[in-house]
């Protein structure tokens, strides 16, 4: 199978760093933002930011021709 482009993989890794590997940086209660402890605020924020990263990855894949070529193959 054709591997995804490097740029798309980069945007895929951003959420992994943000919500998984960096846990010891944000797993705390203060500062409280919008009434939420900081760890909750951070993870909820990334529920909203992850689609943006994936959208960027989608654009990159499209430009790399990985999406268009597949469409041609299936129709």
């Amino acid at each position: 199978m054709k591997r995804p482009s490097v740029g798309a993989v980069f945007f895929g890794l951003v959420p992994f760093v943000a919500v998984c590997f960096s846990v010891s940086l944000w797993d705390r209660i203060n500062p409280i933002i919008l009434g939420l402890p900081f760890n909750f605020f951070w993870l909820i924020l990334w529920l909203l930011l992850t689609p943006i990263c994936l959208w960027a990855a989608y654009r990159i894949e499209m430009r790399a021709g990985n999406i268009a070529s597949e469409k041609k193959a299936t129709h």
């Binding site: 199978m1 054709k2 591997r3 995804p4 798309a8 993989v9 895929g12 959420p15 992994f16 919500v19 998984c20 590997f21 846990v23 010891s24 797993d27 705390r28 209660i29 409280i32 919008l34 009434g35 939420l36 402890p37 760890n39 909750f40 993870l43 909820i44 990334w46 529920l47 909203l48 992850t50 689609p51 990263c53 994936l54 959208w55 990855a57 989608y58 894949e61 999406i67 597949e70 469409k71 193959a73 299936t74």
Partner: protein, 488 residues
């Protein structure tokens, strides 16, 4: 009418309406094996989205997440993290899996292994491991159904008889409708669940504390360490968090039923666009955790955290509303359970029984055997559910520890031309044995690490080592799937 009768009648009404929809959707199509398992491969963005959401948002979301927020605290945060990461992964792996599936008409996960590695034994083994580790997931749905009926009847009906009734309905439902009926019942279930989750998640903090912020302030005041890791546990710290988030996000689409659901899509791009928007649907997850924290202060002495959501609903709202929430919860258990049973039965009949014991069986006979298997698998999960006392989240993590061992074989199978069957086979054997050993000797977490993740690391190491020893060369054909196509 007594409150328990009102609540139970509303639940029964919801289940009956949903079942009629499922039967009707199923009987409009002629049921061959292809239609029963992958819906004729014609689902567009909306149906795929519903089907995937249907199996993702399960009893685990509804009762398990609030249960862990109540009983464990901080470690429950892993639930908010793994889900968006699982969709990130699906963005990259589901479109190529779909493409292979369509080209070679694959129906199950084990078919994929058969095609890529050309080994009947490996494919049968993958089917066996898949069926075995789907059972705790099924069991979890049963436990959830039991809790719903138990709480809604105000303790009048015990869990075991409730589970037996509920699963008779699920098995009957799977028998007649197949995957298409399940997808349409998902529609009803998603609307109900979304409504219930948003309403309860906001109303409970407001009614008892005056707002979500005020509720958190009260929790921080009463239990200062509850909201950060390791919460109320001793050994679920940051190492456990990282390893569990990785295990569950990598494993999300390794569930045979989730893997198989990608075959129902019309195009690979449907799956990719689906992945971009799916994390937004996770916005209901924090609300479930909020309910658990609210319950912690309002009802501090529950024996089992998994009871917290329904018990606080029962205490706060009228009986008909408890029935509505219970009905949503019942569908939330039935829909994924139906998909799981359907997958496990097909795996058993098509990839385990036919190739090993009865190669002359026709597709029609396989479909019949799959339906008989439905009953057997349901019965096994029922027995476990009656006799086990694990929490809902613990059951799910047990299943993940098993199915994530497929990850190296699938991802390397897609993107590496070097990896071969023996390496993948040895890796899965090493992974599954490690998981079994660590779990049975009560060593999960192991040195702070999630046992399933430790096993996955070993699995990868074994695949790499065997590949090195065998000195495999990359296949000459760039399409690694082309050479073995005749084997399916």
């Amino acid at each position: 009418m007594t409150p328990s009768l009102i609540a139970l009648s509303v639940i029964a009404g919801i289940v009956v309406v949903a079942s009629v929809v499922g039967f009707y959707a199923g009987t409009r199509h002629r049921m061959d094996l292809e239609q029963w398992t992958v819906g004729g491969r014609g689902f567009g963005l909306l149906l795929v989205w519903l089907l995937m959401a249907g199996e993702v948002y399960t009893t685990f979301t509804f009762l398990g997440a609030s249960g862990w927020a109540y009983s464990r605290g901080g470690p429950a945060l892993y639930i908010l993290a793994y889900m968006p990461l699982a969709y990130v992964l699906s963005f990259f792996i589901l479109p190529p899996i779909w493409e292979v599936g369509r080209k070679y008409r694959l129906q199950t996960q084990a078919d994929f292994f058969q095609l890529r590695y050309g080994s009947k034994a490996l494919s049968a083994f993958v089917a066996l491991v898949g069926v075995v580790f789907i059972i705790p997931y099924l069991q979890l749905q049963l436990v959830g159904l039991g809790i719903i009926v138990e709480v809604s009847s105000f303790g009048g009906i015990h869990r075991a008889p409730a589970m037996i009734i509920a699963f008779a309905i699920v098995a009957a439902f799977v028998f007649t409708s197949g995957v298409r009926g399940v997808a349409w019942v998902s529609v009803i279930k998603d609307f109900l669940l979304l409504f219930a989750a948003v309403f309860i998640g906001i109303a409970v903090p407001y009614m008892y504390f005056g707002g979500i912020g005020k509720m958190f302030a009260a929790v921080i005041h009463a239990r200062p360490t509850h909201l950060v890791m390791p919460g109320t546990t001793k050994n679920l710290g940051h190492t456990w968090y990282i390893s569990t988030v990785l295990l569950t996000s990598l494993g999300f689409y390794m569930w045979p039923q989730a893997f198989g659901s990608s075959f129902t899509a019309k195009s690979g791009d449907t799956l990719r666009r689906n992945a971009v928007v799916m994390p937004l649907y996770g916005i209901t997850m924090p609300l479930m955790l909020f309910v658990g924290f609210g319950a912690l202060l309002v009802l501090p002495n529950l024996a089992n955290g998994d009871l917290s959501l329904l018990t606080i609903v029962r205490k706060t709202f009228p009986a008909w509303f408890l029935g509505l929430v219970g009905g949503a919860g019942a569908l939330t258990a039935m829909v994924p359970a139906a998909i799981q049973i359907l997958t496990a039965a097909t795996l058993f009949a098509k990839n385990l029984w036919r190739p090993l014991f009865a190669p002359q069986m026709s597709d029609q006979q396989v479909a019949t055997l799959a339906r008989i298997t439905v009953l057997a698998i349901t019965a096994i999960a029922l027995v476990f559910a009656v006799y086990s006392s694990l929490t809902i989240v613990s059951l799910l993590l047990l299943g993940y520890a098993g199915v994530t061992q497929f990850f190296p074989g699938i991802v390397l199978g897609l993107f590496s031309r070097r990896v071969r069957g023996p390496a993948v086979f040895s890796g899965i054997v090493a992974g599954i044995s490690t998981v079994t050993l660590l779990m049975l000797t009560q060593r999960d977490p192991w040195m702070g690490w999630n046992a399933g993740f430790a096993a996955l690391c070993l699995n990868f190491a074994v695949v790499a080592a065997v590949s090195l020893v065998q000195r495999t060369r990359p296949t000459e054909d760039a399409n690694v799937f082309a050479t073995k196509a005749s084997a399916i």
